[in-house]
């Protein structure tokens, strides 16, 4: 696209929008129940009532001072400058100065107090949101993308913060000054006021024309941003794959396409929105001209007591007059964006947390007996478990095997209480899970998860997560038991080595060893190993088996694994298929049965007999 630079600004592709159409689908910033949302947000602000009252008083004073400035100026022109007499001139000037100072002081106090109120409110809101998220059931998080939840904490909070900081006060000030100016202007010269007001309808028509377009264009831009983001995220997270398959030119080209459409949508959205201040400025200037011209003519004919001082007042006011209107438009947009964000945050806060009921008389210590009675469970539209029954005595080891998607992980999630059974009941120590204080119960459990998460902290701190009270020695002991000690020792800074984001810099297997050490440290009654050893090499696995053997003693253990030799010693092996338990029994019982388990075993054996 080699084109002359002078014409290039006019060659951007205008996105397809139809401003004449009524906004049929609600935009993102549509507030559903704004009355309630406002009241609720207000309650965060209104914790310190007297400070809020102070802000209001300041706002009234600020507006009053702001209005008196031009009035005094007009008075000075008419009574001192035009008649050329300076008696008492100094006093009036001092008065003007005092007004200016009062204005400055009041607006400072008002913003100062408001900011601390606002930041306190945002602090509370942030805290509530975060704490509440800690109580929400796992299914809440499964249904939403992390980015979506994050943006409540980032974008929405940001909007609320700036809005509370400034918008609330500004909206009040704007409303007050606007009314004030209107009244004063009407009192001084209704005729000249009429001329000034002539521009209001024109202004609104223009603004409507612009905002109708910008709203749609900003939607387009947002879509384009989303597309660019999505594409970049995918390709950057798969960077090595892109390289290995030499797809750099292709992804660069595709990225440029996405980037290009963002450029066009962004250009138009911002250009149109840039018209707003230019338009307001234009009207201001025209207004200035009309006020001056019409005022001059009126003064010439001596109609309606228009003096030079009146013109001065009107000229100053007309600038202050459109500004609050413009501010109001902006502030209301910001306010609605913030309210929409607040509504989204409140909808999170209104989500019901996990049940934390404590069954009366339930002993705090758990023996670890687990029973599933006719348990069924499904995600959204897909049934995963159908009437699963089993009973594991305290201290026993139960192993679950079966093809991917057969429901093994779901069984584990139900035991941990991440999900609630749709039908049937899960019992721990003979008490239905729904009657347990789930947090208490989890204190007695430990899990080594498929995709374990590590914090950006030292190795030591990450393992200590299993038991925050553990001493360094205990952490090292646990690492030894999990056979993680050897590799940790080899790290440049040993236990003090920092982990990167999401455990980067450590291999999958190493991360799992750390996770096992963590489980060892937490000394649970119920131990859940979800494919715990699938990424650990045979050598390490051999050592882990022995460590786990020790660990599992005296604890109820649930093991999910692909490899059969890790579960041969289990008290009961459950073979799962399609959400049901297809077979169960000990290793030798199942072999004799000549069923699925035996077939699995054979397939495994074949590979041995080369």
């Amino acid at each position: 696209m080699k084109k002359h630079w002078l014409t290039s600004p006019f060659r951007y592709k205008h996105p397809d929008i139809d401003p004449s159409k009524k906004d049929s689908h609600p935009g993102t910033d549509r507030v559903q129940n704004w009355k309630q949302t406002t009241a609720r947000l207000w309650s965060y602000l209104a914790i310190q009532k007297w400070r809020l009252t102070a802000v209001f008083i300041c706002v009234i004073f600020t507006a009053a001072f702001m209005l008196s400035g031009p009035l005094l100026l007009g008075h000075i022109v008419d009574h001192y400058l035009v008649p050329q007499q300076l008696d008492g001139f100094g006093t009036v000037l001092l008065l003007l100065f005092a007004v200016y100072i009062g204005w400055g002081v009041m607006s400072t106090v008002q913003t100062y107090v408001m900011i601390s109120l606002a930041q306190q409110a945002v602090f509370k809101l942030r805290y509530h949101l975060f704490s509440h998220l800690q109580t929400l059931p796992i299914s809440f998080f499964d249904k939403r993308k992390h980015g979506n939840i994050m943006s409540r904490m980032t974008n929405d909070m940001d909007n609320i913060s700036t809005t509370l900081n400034t918008s609330v006060v500004q909206i009040m000030t704007s409303l007050l000054t606007f009314t004030g100016i209107l009244i004063i202007m009407l009192v001084i010269s209704p005729l000249l006021t009429f001329f000034t007001l002539l521009f209001l309808p024109i202004m609104f028509v223009g603004l409507r024309w612009i905002t109708k377009r910008t709203r749609l264009l900003f939607q387009k831009q947002q879509q384009a941003v989303g597309a660019v983001n999505g594409y970049a995220e995918e390709t950057i997270s798969g960077q090595s794959i892109v390289k290995v398959f030499s797809k750099e030119p292709r992804v660069m080209q595709e990225f440029e396409q996405e980037s290009e459409s963002l450029r066009h949508a962004g250009f138009w959205a911002q250009t149109y929105s840039g018209f707003i201040p230019k338009w307001m400025n234009f009207l201001n200037n025209i207004n200035f001209a009309v006020t001056a011209g019409a005022g001059g003519i009126l003064a010439y004919y001596g109609i309606g007591t228009v003096t030079i001082g009146t013109i001065v007042i009107f000229v100053e006011y007309s600038r202050q007059f459109t500004r609050p209107l413009n501010d109001l438009a902006n502030q209301f947009n910001a306010l609605f964006a913030a309210l929409a964000g607040a509504e989204r945050i409140f909808s999170f806060l209104d989500e019901k947390g996990e049940d934390h009921r404590i069954k009366e008389g339930t002993a705090k210590t758990v023996s670890g007996e687990v029973k599933f009675q006719d348990v069924s469970f499904g995600y959204e539209n897909e049934q995963v478990l159908h009437g699963v029954d089993f009973h594991v005595n305290a201290g026993e080891t139960a192993a679950f095997i079966g093809p991917t998607g057969s429901g093994k992980t779901t069984v584990m999630n139900l035991i941990i209480g991440f999900y609630t059974a749709e039908a049937g009941e899960v019992y721990v120590d003979g008490t239905p899970l729904s009657e347990w204080n789930i947090k208490r119960l989890r204190e007695q459990m430990s899990v080594v998860l498929q995709d374990d998460f590590l914090f950006e902290k030292t190795v030591m701190e990450n393992i200590r997560y299993g038991n925050l009270e553990a001493s360094d020695e205990q952490v090292i002991e646990a690492s030894k038991a999990a056979n993680a000690h050897a590799f940790i020792e080899r790290l440049p800074e040993g236990y003090q080595t920092m982990l990167g984001k999401e455990g980067s810099g450590f291999s999958h297997g190493q991360r799992q060893l750390l996770s096992i050490a963590k489980a060892v440290l937490s000394d649970p009654k119920i131990l859940i190993l979800d494919e715990a050893t699938s990424s650990v090499d045979t050598v390490t696995e051999m050592r882990i088996q022995e460590a786990l053997g020790r660990l599992m003693e005296g604890r109820t253990s649930f093991v999910v694994a692909h490899r059969l030799n890790t579960i041969e010693k289990a008290d009961t092996i459950y073979v799962m298929d399609n959400g049901e338990i297809a077979e169960q029994g000990t290793h030798s019982e199942l072999l004799q049965k000549q069923g699925r388990y035996a077939a699995f075993q054979q397939a495994n054996q074949q590979k041995v007999d080369i």
Binding site: W5, P9, V77, Y80, L81, L86, Y100, I101, G104, S107, T108, T111, I115, F123, R126, S131, T135, M153, T154, G230, I236, S237, I241, V242, V244, S246, V251, M252, F255, S259, G266, Q270, T271, K278, N281, N285, A289, A292, G293, G296, I297, V315, T404, I416, F418, K439, R442, V447, L449, G505, Q510, S535, D537, T538, H562, R563, N565, F600, K607, V608
Partner: protein, 572 residues
């Protein structure tokens, strides 16, 4: 900021023009009070109605002119901003694509993404705003002072005294404000980090019942953020009253002097009105200073974050010789030592082995033994620190990196797919492949049946907007992707871990129809035993290389390993 400004250079002409347009717009505006002064002093004082009307009309005309120029300014300013943003975005993405992985390691992915989108938007906004109205404030200060001089030099002198003060204070305030906003940004990042970690480690937090611990952690960061926000916001809140106070003091002084001058017939009323109007306009312009501080502070942090990427990346080295497509590849490691990070313990230490054309080698070793690193070097994603990697008997460094990678079918440990259809994903292996070829690859990867059962077969969408494949299915798509290119060298990095034993066995059987050299990392000895050779690694060093029989005879470690899996009796 300097590097970023280089990207504005192609649009310099447009930027200069938009600046001039802004200047015109502004000077038109500055003429208004002058005309007002004449209207009062010449029109009204002399009862000249004609002059009043014509002055009013010319003021209106000027307003129209200023509007037209302002709209044009919008077009040019946005053009400069959005085109610079576009170029920056593409350039940054390009650098990321071309950079060696070693350099990219330093940047967490999420941070790269924000740099690519948010940070560039910030810089782009700054350019647009600067050209559209931010420069207006300083220009207005200067312009209004000049005009005030034209109207009445004595009163204007006050402005000349005040303005340097004003500018000095402004500069100081802005500098301080920027640092406050810089640290505010850091605090926001810290809070977000806790939140992000909490979401990532959700299950972990729940299982270990660490909710209170997490809440405490968040509380502390949140508190620090609040303190920092209060500081920054209060600071900006303070700036405008200080500036306003100064300007208003100047206005009062000017009125004092003006009043005296009018009485002594040294000045006219209109002149006083005009000069005061200039001063109040300046006051208005100062109102945006707070906004300017925030915008500039944000843009500056963003700019430096972008620069970090632009300067922190480095192109991959590529040699000149192409790798020939001969169906299989010969791979040789000679005393190769390699570390991901200079300060780290080497991942590979003095590794030597040789895999001949068409052979299959299994790599066994403990976690962290350096198995995956072998692959990273063969793919030339990283360079060895010392030693030599020979591909078909020539030094890998002299080979064209693309031609080498095109000969390799790599299946990573963690299945990474892209949104799109299954077919599109498999086609990554070989663009424009025939349907039969794709089907053959799917069949070999033991995915044929699964795909046929899907609603739209290989055209089924996967990922965010499509069906969710299980871990094992994803792994098989990545296998098909690698096989489609008919590679000379197939690298399987524990790529069958999520497959059940039956499927794995069938896949390995079907693989025998391919002529390529293959190297597979595996956790399962049973799988390794099928290979021609085995490489045993421990702590980055080779502790055994050869066939099963050779190793069983030579390596005590291997014997122990074998017996742990199959028992002593199986060894014979």
């Amino acid at each position: 900021m300097k590097t970023i400004l280089r990207y504005v250079r192609p649009y310099k002409a447009a930027a200069v023009l938009s600046f001039f347009l802004l200047l015109i717009e502004l000077s038109v505006e500055l003429f208004q009070p002058l005309l007002l002064a004449r209207l009062i002093d010449e029109g009204l004082a002399n009862n000249d109605l004609g002059l009043v009307v014509s002055l009013g009309l010319s003021m209106a005309g000027l307003a129209l002119l200023s509007f037209g120029v302002g709209v044009l300014n919008c077009f040019f300013a946005d053009h400069v901003g959005h085109s610079t943003g576009f170029d920056l975005r593409n350039e940054m993405y390009k650098r990321l694509q071309e950079s060696s992985l070693e350099k990219l390691q330093g940047f967490p992915q999420s941070s790269l993404l924000t740099r690519l989108t948010n940070d560039i938007t910030q810089v782009q906004n700054m350019i647009v705003m600067l050209l559209r109205f931010m420069l207006r404030s300083p220009l207005l200060l200067v312009g209004a002072t000049i005009m005030a001089f034209v109207v009445n030099a004595r009163m204007a002198l006050i402005l000349v005294v005040f303005i340097p003060f004003l500018l000095l204070i402004l500069a100081w305030l802005m500098r301080k404000g920027m640092t406050y906003f810089g640290s505010l940004q850091q605090r926001i990042d810290a809070v977000n980090r806790v939140m992000k970690e909490n979401l990532g480690g959700l299950r972990l937090v729940r299982v270990f019942g660490r909710e209170q611990h997490e809440i405490k952690r968040f509380f502390m960061e949140n508190e620090a953020l609040q303190a920092s926000a209060l500081k920054a916001f209060r600071y900006t809140a303070l700036t405008s009253p200080i500036l306003l106070f100064l300007m208003n003091a100047a206005i009062v002084l000017m009125l004092w002097i003006g009043g005296a001058a009018v009485q002594n017939n040294e000045a006219q009323v209109g002149e006083v009105v005009a000069v005061v109007n200039y001063a109040t306009r300046m006051t208005g312009a100062l109102g945006v200073v707070g906004m300017l501080i925030t915008l500039l502070a944000r843009a500056r942090t963003s700019a430096s974050r972008i620069e970090e990427v632009l300067e922190g990346t480095e192109k991959e080295n590529s040699g000149q010789y192409n790798v020939k497509d001969e169906g299989s590849i010969d791979v040789q490691f000679e005393n190769v030592t390699f570390a991901y990070n200079e300060s780290r313990v080497p991942a590979l230490n003095n590794v030597t082995f040789h895999v001949k054309r068409g052979e299959q080698m299994a790599v066994l070793g403990a976690t962290g033994a350096g198995k995956s690193s072998l692959f990273q070097l063969m793919l030339r994603l990283y360079e060895p620190a010392s030693g030599q990697l020979l591909i078909d008997d020539s030094d890998a460094r002299e080979l064209n990196i693309t031609s080498l990678r095109n000969q390799i079918g790599y299946v990573p440990q963690e299945a990474k797919l892209f949104s799109g259809t299954i077919r599109e994903n498999v086609e990554w292996g070989l663009e424009g492949a025939e349907t039969e070829e794709i089907n053959k690859a799917l069949e070999t990867a033991q995915l044929g049946e699964t795909v046929r059962a899907l609603p739209e077969q290989e055209e089924t969408l996967i990922g965010q907007n499509g069906v969710n494949l299980s871990g094992g299915q994803k792994q098989r798509v990545t296998i098909a992707r690698a096989l489609l290119r008919n590679p000379g060298l197939l690298l399987l990095d524990d790529s069958t871990s999520a497959l059940d034993a039956e499927t794995e066995a069938e896949f390995l059987g079907a693989l025998e129809a391919y002529s390529c050299t293959s190297i597979l990392v595996t956790q399962k000895l049973s799988t390794a035993l099928k290979a021609d050779k085995m490489l045993l690694l421990e702590h980055g060093e080779v502790i055994g290389f050869g066939t099963h029989e050779e190793l069983y005879g030579e390596s005590a470690f291997y014997r122990q390993l074998y017996q742990s899996q199959y028992g002593k009796e199986a060894a014979t």
